[in-house]
Every structure is written in C-alpha cells, then in structure tokens.
C-alpha cells in the first residue's frame, strides 16, 4: 500500500505519505490551522492577550497615565515578585496539584532574610540561600505527605499555609517588622536597578535570533531526515514580528527609567522553565504525569520523584518571590505574603492559560497572567479605587479565566483534542 504510493510520487516526505490527511502549508495555511485550533477549544494564550488588550484600553481611556512608560516600569517591578511565585504555581498545576501556601512561604522567606541578615548579621547571600533552602524543604515535605501518605495537596498545603504563617509571626516577634537597609544591594535590586539601554536592546534582540537559529537548524535537520519542513516565510515573519515588537517595547520603556533587572531575572527564570518544561525529559514527564498518572507510571517514569520536583520547585520559587518582595518593599513584615499574594499567584498562572486540571500549561502563562493581574491592580490604584474593589475585580477576572479554561476543555474533548 505505502510502497505503491511512494512509487507513484517519490518526493513525499516521511510524514506526508498518507494522502488522506489535510496539511495546511504556507502563511495562509498557518492562519487557517490557528483558526481551526481556536474553534476546537485549543485557545493557548489567546484569551489572555485579548483580556490584556481590553484591560489596557479601558484603563487608558479612564486615565492616560496608565500607559505612560514610568507607570509601566513600575508595573514591571511589581510583576516580578508575584510573577516568580506564579512560576512555581505553574509547576504544581502541570502535575494536576495545587499549593495554597505559597503566600505564607514567601512571607516566611522574607522574614528569614530580615532576621538572619539584619538582626543576626549573616551575609545577605547566605540569608537568601537559607530562605530558599527552607522553601525547597517545605515543598519536599508536601511531596512526602502526598507520595507516602496520600494526603491531598489541597489539604496539606492549607495546613502549611497556617503553620508557616505562624512561624513567620514567631520569628518576627514582638516588633512585627524589620526594615532592610536602604542602599544595600538587595534593596537597590528590588527598587532601583535598571538595565543600561544597550543591554536591554541587546537582550530584546536575543529571542528573535534564537528563534531564527533554532528554526533554521530544525529546518535543515528535518530536510536531512526526509520529514516535511515548516514554511520558511512563516518563521521569518514570526522572528521579525517578535524582534520589532520587543525592540519597540524596550525603546518605549527606556524613555523612562528602563527595564528593571528584577524583571530581567523573572523573564530569565520563565525562559529557563519553559525550556525545562518543553525540551527536557523532566518536562515531558511532568506533562505526562499531569495528563495520565497511571500511563506515566507504566511508561517507567518515577512518578513520585516528579511530584517531589514539582512541589519543591513551587516552594523554592515562592521563597524566591518572598525575598524579591522584601527587596521591593525594603522590609520584612507580618503582612508580607498575606492577603491576596496567594490567590494572585494562582490566578496569574490560570489566567495565563495553565489548566487547573493538569497536563496543560506553559511557563509563559506566569508572565502573561501576572501582567494582567498587575495591570488591574495598577489601573485601579491610578483611579484611586480602594483595595476592596480591587479584590472584587481580580476575583471576577479569575472566575472568568477558570470558566474559559473549563469551556475550552469541554470543547477540546468534543473536538477530539487533549
């Protein structure tokens, strides 16, 4: 059967030998395939992009200061702290679990840095390392409870939320808050340090270049392996769009203070996590465990180790987010990590497109989602609205995001997509 077909038309690629399948080619084809995907419920990051456009349009029309470069630079500073926590949430959501204690862990990490560094006189790097190690330890404990005792992560992390908050209040003691010294490297990093213009422009050019190089390499390798090759025009269009877009954004932000180094760290972590989740065996295993735990186990994946890595990474990122938050506020207080930090981090991951049901998500959802959340917060602050309204609106946005996730999931099921 296949021999006859290949004999009739020799140049068919290995993956195009089956003539019954429709393959979209070229730029028009890519667009058509995209529309097909969206219609069947494979939304990707479309909802968050649409949401972002709506939110920015509304806030800009209410107060033009919103899109000023100085406000956006502040927004990037604020994004980074909770964004790093949201990145950890993406890890646990990928395996279909949850960590409700990230806020408490971040608060305790900032309290640890304050106590060890300012009160006990430890070197700042050592204090930060201790806080991160503590975070990873708490996550490992959740994994232990989950793997060995079958304790649902919902319950164990809820218990952790209270316990860790108690520890935070305990080590802060009667004073209740510790001020971090202004002028120290940590506080400068959290409040002042921005990239020089040439650095930010160079960094903005890197994603496009990387895409081009890896795209061309894949192109050559696929051709050598007799597999169909994606359209070169599409690749060049994508690279051009991304490079021009990023350079414009950077140029606009550079009119004010410029890109914060802290935001650079956050984006760097997002890119690293994206690589780990999509291009490594570990990431493949994470997706598999989130999609079908038993299938992953039967494929020989060490499911317990995967859960351990997910929980530990989540708490580690939460602790790092806490350290950054302390740097941003120049203080470690009893309020750190309480209130809406927990839910903002979870909401950011979900709004960005990581499914609550496991097995679907991307590191970029933390970046996109936190920009949405912070945009709402920043816009409402500019309108001089109270935090009560901010909570309600953020809650509504989260509800909408989850509804979109559920509906898309149902639609995917009926269209035969995962």
């Amino acid at each position: 059967m296949t021999d006859v077909k290949q004999g009739a038309s020799a140049p068919l690629a290995l993956d195009r030998a089956d003539t019954r399948v429709k393959h979209d080619t070229g730029v028009g084809g890519a667009l058509r395939a995209f529309l097909d995907r969206v219609r069947s419920g494979d939304l990707g990051s479309l909802p968050v992009v649409v949401g972002l456009v709506v939110i920015w349009t509304v806030f800009t029309s209410l107060n033009p200061v919103f899109v000023s470069s100085s406000n956006l630079v502040n927004l990037l500073f604020d994004c980074s702290t909770v964004g790093v926590i949201a990145l950890g949430i993406v890890c646990v959501l990928m395996v279909g679990e949850i960590d409700l204690s990230v806020g408490s862990i971040s608060g305790f990490a900032s309290a640890m840095v304050g106590t060890l560094w300012v009160n006990q006189g430890w070197p700042v790097a050592l204090a930060i390392l201790a806080a991160l190690a503590f975070g990873a330890l708490i996550g490992s404990l959740y994994a232990l409870l989950f793997n060995r005792l079958g304790m649902p992560s919902f319950v164990s992390t809820l218990a952790g939320l209270l316990a860790v908050l108690g520890m935070q209040l305990y080590i802060l003691g009667s004073t209740g808050s510790i001020n971090l010294p202004y002028g120290s490297a940590l506080v400068d990093f959290g409040q002042l340090m921005v990239m020089p213009k040439w650095v930010s422009h160079t960094l903005a050019a890197i994603p496009g270049l990387a895409m081009l190089v890896s795209g061309l390499r894949t192109f050559a390798r696929r051709r050598a392996a007799n597999l169909s090759t994606p359209s070169a025009t599409g690749l060049i269009l994508r690279v051009a769009t991304i490079t021009i877009g990023l350079e414009l954004i950077v140029a606009y932000l550079n009119q004010s203070r410029g890109i914060p180094w802290m935001f650079g760290l956050f984006v760097g972590l997002v890119v690293a996590m994206n690589y780990a989740l999509t291009r490594t065996k570990w990431g493949r295993s994470m997706t598999a465990v989130g999609g079908n735990r038993e299938a992953a186990r039967r494929a020989g994946i060490k499911v317990r180790a995967i859960y351990l890595s997910a929980f530990a990474l989540c708490s580690l990122f939460a602790a790092l987010g806490g350290v950054l938050a302390a740097a941003r506020l120049a203080s470690a207080s009893q309020q750190a990590g309480t209130g809406d930090v927990n839910l903002n981090a979870i909401a950011a991951a979900v709004i960005g497109g990581t499914s609550l049901f496991g097995g679907r998500g991307s590191a970029y959802s933390a970046l996109l989602g936190i920009i949405v959340i912070q945009s709402i917060a920043s816009g409402l602050t500019l309108l001089d609205l109270s935090s009560s309204l901010r909570y309600m609106i953020t809650g509504a946005v989260l509800a909408i995001a989850v509804i979109v996730d559920s509906l898309a999931r149902r639609s995917r099921a009926s269209h035969g997509r995962a």
Binding site: M1, T2, L14, D15, A17, D18, R20, V21, H23, T218, R221, R222, A225, N226, L227, R279, T280, K281, W282, R284, S285, T287, A288, G290, G291, N292, E294, A295, A296, R297, R298, A299, G300, I301, K302, G359, R360, R412, A413, H415, G416, R417, A418
Partner: protein
C-alpha cells in the same frame, strides 16, 4: 506442561517461566498457583472467561502488580518485578488493554515516553523519524505524529501503543486484547505484526477473546479458569475442547451445537453407508 515434543524442539530457549504464582486482592484470589512458560520465537495465547485472571497475570509480568507468592524466572534467572521500570529494563514490553497513553501528549511523545532521546535537550527530529519508521513498519494509518493522542481513533491508539512497546527491542511482548478495538484490516495487520515479532525470535504473550485470532497466530493456547491453570492446547484443538476448558462445563450452547452437528453427520454417514450396502 503437556507440550508435544516436536513443537518444543522447534522453539528457542525458555524466556519466561512462572511457577506457583498467586495473587490476592483482599479476600479475592485473582490467581492461584499459576504455572506458565514462554519460549523465544513462540506466541502463547492466554485465554479464559472474564475474571479468569488473564489481565492480572499480564499486570504481574509488567510490574504493575506484585504476586502474593510464587517465582518468576526470566531468561534463566529468578527476578522480581517491583515496578514497570524493572520489567521494561529486563526486556518485557506490555501493551495494556486500557492503552495507557497520555492523551495530552502527541504521538511521538507517547512512543518515547520514559525513553526520550537526549534527556536534557530532546532530539525531536530523531524521535519523529524513528516514530515514523516504527509506524510504517506496522503499516500504520496515523495522520500526524504531532497531533495529540486524544484526536486518534481506537485502532490508531492501539497501533501507537504497539509501536511504543517495540521501541526498546524487548525480549518478551505482552499484548492484552491487541485486536479488540480494531477493524478487519487493522486486525490482520496486527496479526501479521505478531508473526513478524515472533520471526525476530521474541516471545509473545497474547490475551484474546477472539478464537479465530488466537488460532491464526498462537503456537500454544493456555487456558485460565477462575484464576487457575485449566489446560494447554495446540492451535488445532477443537473448539469444543477449548470452550469447555474456558467455561469449565461441556454442556453449553457451543458444545451442544457441535454435538448436534456431529450427530447429524454421523447419521448421514450411516445412511450413505446403508445405501451402498443394501
């Protein structure tokens, strides 16, 4: 085991040998004192009624369940199979009845799940090429290996599952109802594939309810009944013998019909005989 001598001479070394395997789930004994042998280059069909313990036996061999008692010998060595990874490393590949594919991953990712090439920098091109090679060997009809498994039909999923089991060049392949969800052409393809796998000197254990499929490829038919060994048959054994071994009774619809046909044939034979010799 009651094998005929000429058959055991034609097959290779003993790949797998189970002795006295039992498995209890709480108060229920799924398997009791099972003995089971597979040689290289041999297809052993495992048949039995629902609840006879076929799937449990396969799951024990795949490392999914652990036996309550008994010994497993694989290629001459006593082994334990504490988890699926151990079975895979030894060279026992399994295609499960509930296919155990991740619906949210694409075909390539499923075929290579747990055995990805270059773990720190996944080699997608090499994996895709190997996937197509495997699938083409099975004459598979897969539209795209970059499509999530959720979009494939049952037969296509079965093909993906079988392709995956062949990836690691196993010594023994366990197929749990490999043809249950397949169309006529695909069933024939899978049976051809089983022949090819046997020709490569692998041991094959195949669970099936379909006696035609079993007779088409099996070298031996092992019958389980209520978790116990209930006889070993040649593929040319009569349907009546097989059915009575499976159901444990010789008085049922299948055997009664066979009996009736035999009686009618005898009757007409004797009538013919009578006409020839008035």
């Amino acid at each position: 085991m009651n094998e005929s001598p000429e058959r055991s001479a034609s097959v290779g070394e003993l790949v797998l040998s189970l002795r006295g395997i039992s498995k209890h789930f709480g108060a229920v004994s799924a398997l009791t004192d099972i003995d089971f042998d597979v040689h290289a280059g041999e297809v052993v069909a495992l048949v039995g009624d629902n609840g006879a313990g076929k799937s449990t036996l396969v799951k024990i061999l795949a490392g999914v369940h652990q036996p309550s008692s008994g010994t497993i010998n694989f290629r001459g060595r006593a082994v334990t199979l504490p988890d699926p990874r151990a079975a895979l490393t030894l060279g026992i590949a399994t295609v499960f009845q509930d296919l155990a594919l991740c619906e949210n991953l694409d075909v390539v990712a499923n075929i290579f799940l747990g055995n990805e090439l270059s773990p720190l920098r996944l080699d997608e091109v090499a994996m895709e090429m190997r996937a197509w090679t495997l699938l083409n060997e099975l004459s598979a009809r897969i539209p795209s290996v970059r499509e999530a498994v959720a979009s494939l039909s049952g037969g296509q999923r079965q093909t993906v599952a079988i392709a995956r089991s062949l990836l690691l060049e196993p010594k023994l392949i366990l197929l749990d109802e490999p043809t249950a969800a397949l169309g006529v052409a695909q069933t024939a393809e899978v049976l051809n594939l089983i022949d090819r796998v046997r020709a490569r000197g692998l041991g094959v254990v195949m669970i099936s309810h379909n006696m035609e499929d079993v007779r088409a490829v099996a070298d031996r038919i092992v019958v389980l009944r209520l978790g116990r060994n209930n006889g070993v048959f040649e593929p040319d054994a009569s349907n009546q013998d097989l059915v009575s071994a499976i159901t444990g009774a010789s008085n049922n619809a299948v055997s009664r019909r066979a009996e009736r046909l035999r009686m009618e044939r005898d009757h007409s034979d004797s009538e013919q005989a009578g006409e020839q010799h008035p």
